[in-house]
């Protein structure tokens, strides 16, 4: 009787515990920001800027609120919910890009001070990297912060100094307050996430890549070559450890310990039960108890989910860059050749736009995504 009922009871227990429930996942809600990020980037790459804005605005509303006391975050720290059960906000480099993109859209709309707010907030997302030298080290964000300040009649020299101090990829030119066409450009595919470790509890990054490493801009008789200012792979991989990594490491230890205990208990129980010479002997009882405890420990171990959250904003570039041009008023056509280190043109993009005399800055966004 025992042999038939016990597995059934355990199966019920296991299926209920592990299976979760019909509405327990909440995929749509917890991935909402992720979808907004991806769609916004796709709209930007397709030059459908008006459609990207509300998506970024909604995502940034989520980023702007503090997560203290949020139920999904609390559960993500628990043993029996994976990290990906929390509402997605992204790693700092992803959050940086959300603010960066919204900033360039504000500038496009003639709101340079709100653009600057976004660039500052983007830099702020990176301010708590583990090592000081990697904190707030996006050269482009400081550069743009100072550029807007200079454009608004202020002194952007501090920000320019900071930008130059952390610039790794390109030398940053002095601000041209009279430049009227501001070109933001993206290149390549950004870093991707994967989980390492025995229980996939360690968040790791695969480097992104980019065939083009510079862009050659031709407009109104001008020809300007510009390189990227920041590298998202570098940013993603220099953050250091997260607090959540310690939580996941603890979960992994718990999972391993309960699994090992389960194995030991099952084996010991089986030996005792098999070795008992009489039915209903004490050895039988202890053996059965150990078997049950072992199976329960295995269930607990199986239910423990230390895996790292590898959801990612997967249409980000690897490089971001910016250049400012002086272009005469009127209808203009800009040709952007994305070129590789050998000087070959990898991709060409053309943009038609109008420069209004004495009007606000014309902001262009170019991507090498087809």
């Amino acid at each position: 009787m025992f042999r038939t009922r016990t597995p059934a009871a355990l199966l019920v227990c296991t299926s209920v515990w592990l299976g979760g429930c019909a509405t327990g996942t909440g995929h749509a809600d917890r991935d909402r920001v992720l979808h907004e990020y991806r769609e916004a980037a796709a709209f930007l790459q397709a030059a459908r800027f008006a459609e990207a804005k509300p998506l970024l605005d909604d995502a940034l509303l989520s980023l702007g609120g503090l997560t203290a006391g949020v139920d999904s975050a609390r559960k993500a720290r628990g043993y029996f919910h994976s990290e990906s059960s929390k509402g997605f906000r992204g790693e700092p480099y992803e959050r940086v890009m959300a603010y960066y993109y919204r900033g360039l859209l504000y500038w496009m709309d003639g709101e340079p001070d709100n653009a600057r707010a976004c660039f500052r907030n983007a830099q702020f997302q990176d301010a708590d990297a583990e090592e000081g030298k990697y904190q707030a080290d996006y050269a482009l964000l400081d550069y743009l912060d100072g550029y807007v300040t200079a454009k608004l009649g202020g002194d952007g020299s501090d920000a320019l100094r900071r930008a130059r101090a952390v610039a790794r990829l390109a030398s940053l030119p002095d601000y041209d307050r009279n430049a009227n066409v501001l070109v933001f450009f993206d290149m390549g595919r950004g870093p991707s996430k994967y989980a390492a470790g025995e229980y996939h509890e360690q968040l790791r990054f695969l480097p992104g890549h980019s065939a083009p490493t510079a862009v050659n801009l031709r407009v109104a008789g001008l020809s300007v070559r510009s390189g990227p200012a920041d590298d998202l792979t570098f940013q993603a991989t220099t953050r250091g450890g997260r607090q959540m990594d310690y939580v996941l490491a603890n979960k992994a230890v718990f999972k391993g310990t309960t699994d090992a205990f389960g194995n030991a208990a099952i084996v010991s129980g089986a030996v005792l039960a098999a070795g008992g010479s009489h039915r209903h002997s004490a050895a039988d009882e202890v053996g059965a108890g150990l078997l049950v405890a072992g199976v329960l420990a295995k269930i607990v171990s199986a239910a423990t989910t230390p895996s790292a959250d590898v959801r990612m904003w997967d249409n980000l570039p690897n490089y971001i860059g910016f250049t400012a041009l002086r272009v005469p008023p009127g209808e203009q056509r800009l040709t952007a050749d994305f070129i590789d280190p050998a000087g070959r043109v990898v991709f060409t993009r053309e943009v038609n736009f109008t420069v209004v005399p004495g009007g606000r800055d014309t902001v262009l966004y170019l991507s090498d995504r087809h």
Partner: protein
């Protein structure tokens, strides 16, 4: 005896597991939703960050409106001072709808001064000029001579700025925002009134996001 002693704990454990696993809606906070909660605009809601929020806008603009009304230039003005709003400058890390602050101040002043101050709708000049052109061309009727410019000049400009200082480290996020407003004499460029409000907020993200 044997069956009772072993199976009973197992059943109890299974029941405990079922209970601990929760009901069908575990994992969903407020599965049936939250009813509409009406809050005063000066209250902090349950959705909060360290940025500019409605309660800040209300408290800051109320304070500024009171401060302006107490000025002798307004209290003892001969005639009605004409004021034009100039956009605020945002120097914080938060993108904000800057018009919201000035619009609320204007509405507050208009409702409390009962005509003591006249705000000029410079933000609607394009529409106003078009209207005047249509009157001048005879396409629209006019109560006065449409060729006489009646757009009024400003006696004062009301403007201001938001400045901020932010800190972020392992112990949390802290944001200080300084709101300053100025009334500038349009004739002399003198600042006839200035006041400020400051708000500091801090918080710590859940460890799942750190």
């Amino acid at each position: 005896m044997y069956q009772r002693s072993v199976i009973a704990p197992i059943v109890a454990l299974a029941a405990a597991a079922v209970l601990s696993a929760g009901c069908a809606s575990s994992g969903v906070k407020n599965p049936s939703g939250t009813g509409v909660t009406v809050l005063n605009a000066d209250e902090q809601g349950f959705v909060a960050g360290t940025g500019v929020e409605s309660q800040d806008i209300v408290s800051v603009t109320d304070k500024m409106a009171r401060s302006i009304l107490a000025r002798p230039q307004i209290q003892n003005a001969q005639g009605t001072p004409r004021v034009v709003l100039l956009p605020l400058e945002n120097n914080t890390r938060f993108a904000v709808n800057k018009d919201l602050l000035l619009t609320r101040m204007r509405a507050r002043l208009n409702s409390q001064t009962q005509g003591k101050v006249l705000f000029l709708a410079r933000d609607r000049m394009a529409a106003l000029e078009k209207e005047q052109q249509l009157k001048q061309s005879g396409q629209l009727t006019s109560n006065g001579d449409p060729n006489v410019v009646a757009f009024q000049g400003a006696d004062f400009f009301l403007t201001g700025s938001l400045d901020g200082s932010s800190t972020r480290n392992a112990r949390g996020v802290s944001d200080y925002i300084l709101y300053t407003f100025r009334l500038i004499d349009a004739r002399t460029s003198g600042i006839v009134w200035e006041d400020m409000a400051e708000i500091k907020k801090q918080g710590l993200e859940d460890a799942a996001y750190r």
